[in-house]
């Protein structure tokens, strides 16, 4: 399964009322050209993507918040799954794109014995899944978008990235942050 195919599907299902957060990985690079409508916070890595999304889910309890994380990032701080399970926000959907490697720099622990879904289950998250095909991704993620319940999926994807042209490299740091906040401010439920 290719990450880009999954992301294209996801982009077709959500609208600008949904918030997304991506880890600093190929996911952010591929999500960038697909998602221009709603607020997306690009590039939180080394374990920060999921907990940052958790915080947003508490700021916007009536909106769906999607964390688009990666195996290398989440593996750095799997204890965040314990906190996510403990808070149990019904509006948070976490999708971990697991390509079982650190880019071109060798395998992650998920290529061996580590199982992120089982770790999430052990942390206390009840709605989980490991998705091997685009069909499984479509079925599980679509259902999760339609229901109000914390959901966690590991999407097993191929290594490598889509050869796409985009402006991702220029859209980092403060400009990205400002665009994100500007989009949030347009929400009537944004509280400053």
């Amino acid at each position: 399964m290719k990450r880009f195919d999954c992301l294209k599907l996801l982009a077709s299902w959500i609208d600008e009322q949904v918030l997304t957060v991506t880890s600093l990985s190929t996911t952010a690079r591929e999500w960038s050209p697909l998602w221009k409508r709603g607020p997306n916070f690009y590039g939180l890595n080394l374990g920060l993507c999921l907990p940052f999304a958790l915080g947003l889910s508490l700021a916007f309890p009536r909106r769906k918040v999607i964390a688009l994380d990666s195996d290398g990032s989440l593996l750095l701080d799997t204890s965040s799954l314990i906190t996510v399970a403990s808070v149990n926000p019904p509006n948070l959907l976490a999708i971990v794109f697991d390509n079982q490697c650190y880019g071109s720099m060798g395998p992650t622990a998920t290529s061996r014995k580590a199982d992120l879904e089982k770790i999430a289950q052990g942390a206390g998250i009840t709605v989980t899944g490991t998705l091997q095909t685009v069909e499984q991704f479509a079925s599980s993620v679509k259902k999760a978008l339609d229901r109000s319940e914390l959901s966690f999926f590991v999407a097993k994807v191929e290594p490598g990235r889509e050869p796409i042209e985009n402006d991702y490299m220029r859209f980092d740091g403060r400009p990205m942050r400002d665009a994100f906040v500007e989009a949030l401010r347009r929400y009537p439920d944004y509280r400053d």
């Binding site: 080394l46 374990g47 907990p51 915080g55 508490l58 204890s79 906190t83 400053d192």
Partner: protein
Amino acid sequence: MDRDSVQMVIETLKEEEIDLVVTLPEEPTYPLTEALRSDPFFQTITVAGEGHGIALCGGASLGGRRCLFVTGIAGLLVGSWALAQMGFYSVPLLIMASYRGDIGDRSGIPGASLFLFNQVGEPLLDALRVPYRVINQKSALKRQIQDAHFSCRSYGTPIVLLLTGEVLW
């Protein structure tokens, strides 16, 4: 932390409409976090690690939710990557930390460990370019919380209040 200081913090947080408090319990601030947990005004979250606790607060705060992270110097060390990232992305974030290792800390931790905190705490915040204030008098507590909350949102940066002296011991 005695009852007066705890009450002062709680009253000030309410005035500032800070209703989300995130913490990983540690001894000197435990009376505060315990009191916050029992007050229905606050949503309190106990995290499993300081790094993701800071990121959680960052997401909430950038989303407009007024929140406070309560920790200690050790928690700032553990969470330093998250703190650096929140600073990089100009995320307003109010942090209250016990100043373990400050001169006068009689909390029972071996002196060598306290001295480590003493030596690295403030230099760490300087290196991360995180503004901070040391509060050692109860009379300054309310004003310092108000000012830090205002300025972290005005600057768009984390600000740390280091509690010590008669506020903490």
